[in-house]
Every structure is written in structure tokens, then in C-alpha cells.
């Protein structure tokens, strides 16, 4: 296996979620200024890629679509051991939904050229859609396996995979190339070694805009996103007290009405 692409999304650090605000115009979250971390499941994907590379050689590439301010987070992936990183960044990408994002990542994969395996986290902690991996596979015309909890190289171009399904597991063998989305049960990501932090300083981060990728702008950004946000509002929870008086029958009726009105049942 010569080249593994790991899709990595820098996501807002959950410790700073209280500082995330909303942009009511674009109906998206304002992420600027919020420290980012590597999406936790993407670390498991990266660990899987690094283990394969460490055992069999080859190259691990990080691929990310994000604004330029996330480069320190990509650098962390390089410090964990990835060989180089490609950051797809262009204002026209802003507001992309999962399908538009998959178009951009697919263009990134095509720009890279040859590869044997694409690894993704099953989902991200900010969007939680769990769609991009499969969409990317579809756009690259490759097979997709999601919910992967075990992964071994059987032969040079054959992987043995365990996939978690609702009431059990599926064991399957798959030929390369393909797109795999992983769950956290797959492995324990390594800690960033200090030697890796030093090595990452001289590793390359390639930044590509749509000038290099040439994606039809009708497919990307807000315009190219079929998912339209109908509304975005902050959910506020507050305690309210109300005293209900009357006969037991009357009180029960008030309660039943309220249960219906608030959609509790």
C-alpha cells in the first residue's frame, strides 16, 4: 500500500463550545477565534493509517477542507506522524453542506492522484451527520465501508474489515482502493510524541484553492449545498412554576392538555 489519505476535520474544541455563536445571515456557526482540535474520530482514522504505514511502508496524507487558521491543528496531525497535509481552503467553499464538502474532498483526492485507501472518521463532533465518508466514496466511484471497528491488511490489495451493525458485526474482505469510515472501537490513537512535534515543523502543508481544484461553483459552498437551513436558534431552557388548583379530575385534565401542547408524548 503506497498512499493513504486521511480526511481530517478541525472542529471547535468542546471546552470552548460556550463561546461558539451563530451567524444568522449564513445560518452557520461562527468558528473564528474558537480553538480547534482534530475531530476525535479522525484521530482513530489517522492511527489506523499510521499503523498500516509503520508496518508496510508508504505515505500518509492528511486532507482537510477548512479556513487557513486551522493550520496548527493540521500540524498536530503531522506531529502524530502523518507525512504531509493538504488544506483545501477558499472563500467559495464556505457554507458547504455534506455533499458540497464531499465534492471538494473528492477534488482534493483527484488532485493527489494515485492513492490506495481513504480513511475518515465515521462522523464529526460538530456536525454529527456521518454522511461525508459515503458521499466521498460515491463521488470517487469507490466502495464505502462505514462503522469499521477492526481493520487488517490480508494481502497487498486486500483488507479484512469488521463492521459494526445494529445487532452484531459483519466481517468482510475488500479490495483496494476504497473509502473506510471508522468508529472509536477501532484503536487507541497514539499520543503525540515530542519528536513528532519537532519533525512536524519541517513537514509540508499544501494549501489549495479552487483555482487549483477547478470545481464547478454550482456544486460547492452555500449555493451548491442542497441542504438549506430552515432556521437556526438557540435553545433556551428555563424552569417555570405553575400552581394548578381544582378537583383531581380538573387537575389531571390540565396536565394532559399541557403534555399534548408541549409534545411530550
Amino acid at each position: 500500500m503506497n498512499r493513504i489519505i486521511v480526511c481530517m476535520k478541525p472542529v471547535p474544541d468542546p471546552q470552548h463550545w460556550n463561546k461558539v455563536s451563530m451567524d444568522h445571515e449564513t445560518q452557520t456557526l461562527k468558528r473564528e477565534g474558537i480553538p480547534t482540535i482534530i475531530n476525535p474520530l479522525d484521530k482513530h482514522a489517522l492511527e489506523a493509517a499510521l499503523s498500516i504505514r509503520d508496518a508496510h511502508g508508504g505515505e500518509v496524507l492528511l486532507l482537510s477542507m477548512a479556513p487557513p487558521f486551522v493550520t496548527p491543528t493540521l500540524r498536530e496531525g503531522l506531529a502524530m506522524g502523518a507525512d504531509r497535509a493538504i488544506l483545501l481552503s477558499d472563500p467559495v467553499f464556505a457554507g458547504s453542506d455534506t455533499l458540497a464538502t464531499a465534492h471538494i474532498l473528492a477534488a482534493g483526492c483527484r488532485w493527489i492522484g494515485e492513492f490506495d485507501l481513504v480513511l475518515c472518521g465515521n462522523m464529526t463532533i460538530d456536525g454529527s451527520t456521518a454522511q461525508v465518508g459515503s458521499q466521498l466514496a460515491e463521488l470517487l466511484d469507490l466502495p464505502s465501508v462505514m462503522h469499521v471497528i477492526d481493520l487488517h491488511r490480508k494481502e497487498d490489495h486486500l483488507l479484512r474489515i469488521t463492521q459494526k451493525i445494529e445487532h452484531g458485526y459483519v466481517r468482510l474482505e475488500a479490495e483496494l482502493p476504497l473509502v473506510i469510515s471508522v468508529r472509536k472501537e477501532l484503536n487507541k490513537p497514539r499520543y503525540t510524541p515530542f519528536t513528532g512535534i519537532l519533525a512536524a515543523e519541517s513537514k509540508e502543508i499544501n494549501m489549495l484553492s479552487n483555482e487549483e481544484l477547478h470545481i464547478d461553483t454550482g456544486l460547492i459552498g452555500l449555493e451548491g449545498s442542497p441542504t438549506k437551513m430552515a432556521g437556526l436558534e438557540l435553545r433556551r431552557f428555563k424552569r417555570e412554576k405553575e400552581r394548578v388548583e381544582g378537583s383531581p379530575e380538573e387537575i389531571v385534565q390540565v396536565l394532559v392538555d399541557k403534555i399534548h401542547r408541549y409534545g411530550i408524548i
Partner: protein, 381 residues
């Protein structure tokens, strides 16, 4: 002046924090219970680079220096004070061999320390010594091609978790009569004494070493015969004090965080107690101390990295930060009220741990002797 950490230092902090928050808490109950250091964490710590942080790369370390080490110890101490206590003495064991060892000694003893195969240990204190280093009774005499060492060492961190110790003993009378030796724990006549039962920093092993006509090969002399005082003082004042300061800084950070979280969660009079000015003043005091101590600790280790003298700054950081950690932990307990003295809450451990940092690695009074010398130097006639 530049008060910003570099991207490298920020990444280092993040990496250690992730390791510390995941790997140390599962060990802490047993550490508190038994007083034993979790030696099974040495190898994972070596893989990250914690054990070899100041050791040069040619001897298996990562050679990132003292500011990086302070960040590492601070982050470990934020989770559990006993970890940086043990690790900082481990680093003293590395520094002393790196600074005074021959190439052969470095190859033999420094590499396993960086790889986490054993722990560094420096044994200076005698029951009759301590602050009065020259007053020690442990003595060694050259007979043929061996030194014969007799005496006892007490309050020695990592005594029972190390395969070899750097031991200071008298080879002649007076300040120029001390010498340093690398003593293998299996050397004939070397014995492990009792394990101490401390009330704080419990997970850092402290114990006694006993030497009864212990035979040490001549080539295990570290530095020059008679140069032992310089070996002890350089190691304690540069590596030991900055390390103790960083340990206390970690505890102080933990006290600040525990106090802040509790003050925001505990509701009295219908609102979090952080809305009460009495509590706000406590928080302001802890916060001020924390910010002062950060600057002191980072500056002392930065000076060391620049190859500049850092003995006064190390003493200042050590003395001030250890005291500040005690004060912060006490205030954190007061913010917690009765919860603070319950074993389920971390703040009681933080106070016990902070108190133990005060006499460790040189008492506050010895630090003040150093500082008084510095303070009065400009006025000396």
C-alpha cells in the same frame, strides 16, 4: 521581551495534557493508597518524550530543554502532583550524569533513563546532613580499584524505583571533601531501607538507602574526587529547584481550576457562590499568585536554556511557588467549605501535596539564604 509561547511549546503542552488527563487518573487511587509510583507509566511516558525531555538526542532523549520540561511537569502536576515530583527527580538524575559523566557513563546510564527503563535518583541527604550538606557522615574510601562506601541516605525520592543512584559521600573532610558516585542497586553492600509514609505527594516514592562497606568500581566516580559539592549544588539549584517549582505550579493550577469550577457550581442564596464578593476575592488572590508563579517558573527555566545563571531565579521560583501552592490550596478548600475536607474532593489532596513541596528539594529557608545573598550583593562593601 516576548511572553508568548511558540507553536511548538503550545503543542507540547497539549500533548502532555492529553497524556496526563487520560493515563494518570486511573492510577491515582492506588498511588494514594500504597504510596507507590506507577512504574508501568514509565514506558508510555518515554514514548511521548517525558522521561528524556532534557536528555540530549544522542543519549536517547528529545533534548527540548528546561522551559519545555517546566511545561511538562506543570501539566503532569495539574493532574497529580506526585507525578512531576518523581519525574523532576528523575530529570535530576539525568542532568547530573549528563553534566558530569564521562561518555562511557552517559552511554551506560543516561540512555536507559531516557528510555524509561529505570528512574533517575540523586541521594544527597544524610540523617545528619540535609540543608547542611557538608555535615553528612556517609563516607567513601578508595581501596585498590574500588571505593568502599558506608552510611545512610534518607528522604530520597525514587530510592526504590531506580536501578542506580547518584550518591554524594565524603572522601575527605570539608567542603572540598565530597565526591559523587553512581551506585548500582545490586552493588555488594547496597541496601534499600524503609519506604517513607508521606501525607502528601504519596504516589512519589521516598525512602532510605543504606550502604555497608558497599563496593563501587572506581570508574563509577562521577566528576572529580572532591568535586561532589559542586555536583550536588549545580544539580539541586538548577534542575532540582526549577523542577520543584514546576511541580508546585501544577498543584497551584489545579487548585485554581478546582476552586473556579466549584465556585461556579455551588449555589447559595439562589446563585453560584462565585457571585459573592468574598469568594471573588479568594479567586482573585489565587489567580494573581498563579500568574506570578508562572512567570517566575518560566523565567528560571528559560534562563537555564539560554545557558545563563539561574540559581537565584530557581530559588525564587521554588520558594515562592511552593508557598503560593499551599496558600492557593487552602483558599480552594475554604471556597469548598466542608466539602473541601472530604476525601472525595481533590482540594484536600492538593493541600497535602503542596505542603510536601515546601521542604522538598531544599527548604524554603535555604532558598531564602540564597535570595538574601542576591538581595544584599549590590550593597556589599
Amino acid at each position: 521581551m516576548d511572553f508568548q509561547f511558540s507553536e511548538r511549546e503550545e503543542m507540547l503542552r497539549k500533548a502532555v495534557r492529553e497524556f496526563a488527563e487520560n493515563e494518570i487518573p486511573p492510577k491515582m487511587e492506588a498511588m494514594e493508597e500504597t504510596g507507590d509510583f506507577p512504574t508501568e507509566l514509565l514506558k508510555p511516558m518515554a514514548e511521548v518524550g517525558i522521561t528524556g525531555i532534557i536528555t540530549p538526542t544522542e543519549y536517547g532523549g528529545v533534548g527540548l530543554g528546561y522551559l519545555a520540561r517546566t511545561i511538562v511537569l506543570e501539566e503532569l502536576g495539574r493532574v497529580c502532583g506526585a507525578m512531576p515530583m518523581a519525574l523532576q527527580v528523575h530529570h535530576m538524575g539525568c542532568a547530573v550524569i549528563n553534566d558530569f559523566g564521562t561518555d562511557a557513563q552517559k552511554e551506560k546510564y543516561l540512555v536507559p533513563l531516557a528510555k524509561g527503563e529505570t528512574m533517575g535518583c540523586v541521594a544527597v541527604t544524610d540523617p545528619t546532613g540535609g540543608s547542611d550538606v557538608v555535615g553528612m557522615k556517609s563516607s567513601a574510601e578508595l581501596k585498590g580499584d574500588k571505593y568502599i562506601l558506608s552510611g545512610r541516605k534518607c528522604f530520597i525520592t525514587n530510592s526504590h524505583t531506580s536501578n542506580y543512584w547518584v550518591v554524594i559521600a565524603k572522601t575527605a573532610e570539608g567542603a572540598k571533601g565530597l565526591s559523587a558516585f553512581i551506585v548500582d542497586k545490586d552493588a555488594p553492600g547496597a541496601k534499600l531501607g524503609r519506604k517513607e509514609n508521606k501525607f502528601g505527594l504519596r504516589g512519589a516514592n521516598t525512602g532510605e538507602l543504606a550502604f555497608d562497606n558497599c563496593e563501587i568500581p572506581k570508574e563509577n566516580l562521577l566528576g572529580q574526587e572532591g568535586g561532589g559539592l559542586a555536583v550536588a549544588i549545580k544539580t539541586i539549584s538548577e534542575t532540582g529547584r526549577t523542577g520543584m517549582a514546576a511541580t508546585a505550579l501544577g498543584i497551584l493550577t489545579a487548585a485554581y481550576e478546582e476552586a473556579g469550577k466549584f465556585a461556579n457550581e455551588r449555589v447559595l442564596y439562589g446563585k453560584p457562590i462565585s457571585a459573592l464578593q468574598a469568594i471573588q476575592f479568594y479567586m482573585a488572590e489565587i489567580y494573581t499568585q498563579l500568574e506570578i508563579c508562572r512567570l517566575l517558573c518560566y523565567r528560571a527555566s528559560w534562563l537555564k536554556d539560554q545557558g545563563m545563571r539561574c540559581d537565584n531565579e530557581g530559588a525564587l521560583a521554588k520558594y515562592y511557588t511552593c508557598e503560593a501552592a499551599v496558600n492557593a490550596a487552602k483558599k480552594a478548600i475554604e471556597i469548598h467549605g466542608s466539602y473541601g475536607i472530604m476525601k472525595e474532593y481533590a482540594v484536600q489532596r492538593l493541600l497535602r501535596d503542596a505542603v510536601v513541596t515546601v521542604p522538598s528539594g531544599g527548604t524554603a529557608e535555604i532558598a531564602k539564604v540564597v535570595l538574601a545573598r542576591a538581595a544584599l550583593a549590590p550593597f556589599k562593601k
